[in-house]
């Protein structure tokens, strides 16, 4: 029982710790904070992944990929914090940039396709594929 609850309690603890440490931005992050961040990043990634798979609206799907990107970015930042290494943060800046570029591209594409079929559903675009 205890073992089962341990992660939960530690998560709660780390959330509280994080809240407590809001003001102490420049102090070293604790293990728990890092674990929490990583968990959140994973969560973001998985939410994006699941959303990508289950939603049909192309805009939403794109947002889901953004979510995955941000999950990765969050993980990157966390790790950078963990290692006290700035390169991870630099990476994140690039990720954001690329994500922005992709967003522009995605919107362009979506608009292009919307013009052709008057819908945002990805499902209508399944002419190709094995019969």
């Amino acid at each position: 029982m205890n073992a089962f609850l341990a992660p939960v309690s530690s998560a709660i603890a780390s959330v509280s710790t994080a809240l407590e440490g809001m003001g102490q931005a420049f102090s070293a992050a604790s293990e728990a904070q890092i674990a929490l961040s990583l968990a959140i990043s994973a969560l973001l990634f998985v939410i994006g992944l699941v959303g990508f798979m289950v939603r049909r609206n192309m805009i939403i799907m794109f947002l889901c990929t953004e979510l995955m990107f941000q999950g990765a970015a969050l993980a990157m930042i966390t790790v950078a914090r963990m290692h006290m290494d700035v390169s991870g943060q630099v990476f994140v800046i690039f990720i954001l940039t690329v994500a922005a570029a992709e967003a522009a591209l995605a919107l362009g594409l979506v608009v292009l396709l919307h013009r052709r079929r008057e819908t945002l559903s990805a499902e209508v675009w399944s002419d190709l594929g094995e019969a």
Partner: protein, 540 residues
């Protein structure tokens, strides 16, 4: 290390191409038709110029100084990209904006800068090639990420705007979304690698992983990250499990873009994988030491080997069996492209100098023979539409003998028939596989080759042998001759290049030239991540 000059010199070809891309984008907006028509030639010239720059700027000393993981990888890959790139430009020449330009020429419409895409197309083309070239010089994960995106993003647009294919929109949307998914996957993998090793620089990653390996074995997080990264890049190389998009996208995209997709992103993917896996530690060249004693193979960590093994087997098998059912040439070639990735993964798995050289050589062979097939397809049309059904090619020999022959040659080469180029690629891969004790893989690859013969034979015999049908009677050449020329060049290359195997292979061997400085930097205590030292010198 601090001197930026040499490192920039290493990038001189890319920089040149970048400038050319900008110019191309501008040229495309010219009101004068002649200028617009000059675009493909301009792009070719730019690629030729970059090709000319390469031997001047890319020297071994500079490469070593730049502390690249595989310093000389670019010495082969970059000319390959530029060379095949020239052919790919020829393939796409005249296809972009074709309908619009034709209308302008006939005076039906006037020039409208909003309706032309040729400038952007060629710019993006060059960007994508630049991205792939840059990968060879990657020193850290950020670079890899950016370069891969530079390869990918333009291709999404090229699929969408490249030509008159009715289904290009669908292809683009699939390609884009799934590509973004795969990017996220490898990005997360990068984060994990970063987390485990504490660095984004490949050199440091290698050191850290070596230390891990020397200790209690490579960290689980690092492994998971590596696997995620590998799987993410599988998208680029159209390997299982990320290959599902390929048939649809290849079929839906305009054929000349398909030709591009089948080569440039794939080269990029393999370069990334080679660079990445080189960080994990192949033991170097071969399992044979000087006295002919077999030393135990200590290559990639077992889980990674296992994943790659499965990827290789599944990719070639799914690719080949998938291709069997196709009536669409493009779709068939898509599956064939998947299958060839499977063969190439054998090279990754084998690792070491033999593996990398085999991959390089196979990429060359694959590029030429697959471009031959696509170029021949681009050179033909039926009622103004591109060829898709294989039966449209029936009896092609009677009206378009040259194209029929090129298709047949490329089919024969793709299946690995001697003495065409593809055969030697396969031999080289098998040699590498034997060097890595991957006997089972060879057997599976052999069986797969036999299966592939089932459909390549169709590619070769339908144009040459089958009687023409009513549909195929309507097949004719497209107005422009460039794709035709590209097909002929590739076809001849497929036949002629086996006569120059030695120079080609020596060029491929350059990629694994030793890394003087890096070797010294590697921890001497642990030999397992020892850099790839050459065995070329040991060879007779």
């Amino acid at each position: 290390m601090d001197a930026i000059g040499p490192r920039l010199m290493l990038l001189a070809p890319e920089i040149l191409l970048f400038g050319a891309a900008v110019v191309a984008a501008v040229l495309g907006l010219s009101r004068r038709h002649a200028v617009r028509a000059f675009l493909p030639i301009f792009t070719c010239l730019a690629l030729i110029a970059s090709l000319a720059l390469m031997p001047i700027t890319w020297t071994e000393a500079r490469a070593n100084e730049a502390q690249l993981v595989l310093p000389m990888l670019g010495a082969f890959i970059k000319p390959l990209l530029a060379g095949v790139g020239i052919l790919l430009v020829l393939v796409s020449a005249g296809s972009v904006d074709r309908g619009f330009e034709a209308a302008v020429a006939r005076g039906r419409t006037t020039f409208d800068p909003q309706r032309v895409v040729a400038g952007e197309f060629h710019a993006f083309f060059l960007f994508s090639v630049i991205g792939a070239m840059l990968l060879c010089s990657a020193t850290d994960l950020i670079w890899i990420f950016l370069a891969v995106e530079l390869v990918s993003l333009p291709t999404y647009i090229m699929v969408a705007v490249g030509g008159a294919s009715r289904r290009s929109g669908e292809a683009a949307i699939k390609y884009f979304f799934l590509g973004a998914l795969s990017t996220a996957v490898f990005l997360y993998g990068f984060a994990m690698i970063y987390g485990s090793t504490g660095s984004l620089e490949l050199d440091n990653i290698r050191t850290a992983l070596a230390a891990q390996a020397a200790g209690s074995g490579i960290d689980g997080v690092a492994l998971a990250g590596l696997i995620l990264a590998v799987l993410g890049f599988c998208f680029k190389i159209t390997a299982v499990p990320m290959h599902f998009y390929a048939p649809d996208v290849y079929e839906g995209a305009p054929t000349h873009v398909t030709a591009f997709l089948a080569f440039v992103p794939k080269v990029a993917g393999f370069v990334v994988l080679v660079v990445l896996l080189a960080c994990v530690g192949w033991t170097g060249h071969s399992l044979v030491d000087g006295d002919g004693v077999r030393v135990p193979y200590a290559g990639l960590p077992t889980p990674l080997t296992a994943v790659l093994w499965m990827v290789a087997v599944l990719t070639m098998t799914l690719g080949n069996v998938g291709a069997l059912l196709q009536s669409s040439v493009k779709r068939m070639l898509a599956y064939s492209s998947i299958a060839h990735s499977g063969y190439l993964v054998i090279g990754l798995l084998s690792g070491g100098a033999a593996g990398i050289e085999a991959i390089c050589f196979y990429l060359l062979a694959y590029g030429i023979m697959t471009t031959a097939a696509f170029a021949a397809l681009v050179a033909l049309e039926r009622r103004g539409e591109e060829i898709n059904e294989i039966n449209d090619l029936a009896g092609l020999r009677q009206k378009q003998p040259v194209m029929a022959w090129m298709l047949a040659i490329s089919g024969a080469s793709l299946v690995g028939l001697p003495p065409f180029l593809g055969f030697f690629g396969k031999v080289y891969l098998f040699v590498a596989a034997f060097e890595a004790d991957q006997f089972a893989l060879v057997v599976i690859a052999v069986l797969n080759s036999a299966v592939s013969a089932l459909y390549y034979l169709r590619l070769a015999t339908v144009p040459l042998v089958a009687p023409p049908s009513a549909r195929s009677e309507e097949v004719e050449l497209v107005p422009t001759r460039w794709p035709w020329i590209a097909a002929v060049v590739c076809g001849i290359g497929t036949v002629i290049l086996p006569g120059f195997l030695n120079p080609l292979v020596r060029a491929a061997e350059v990629t694994t030239k030793p890394v003087a400085d890096v070797t010294a930097a590697a921890p001497s205590a642990d030999p397992s991540p020892a850099p790839l030292s050459s065995n070329a010198s040991e060879r007779p």
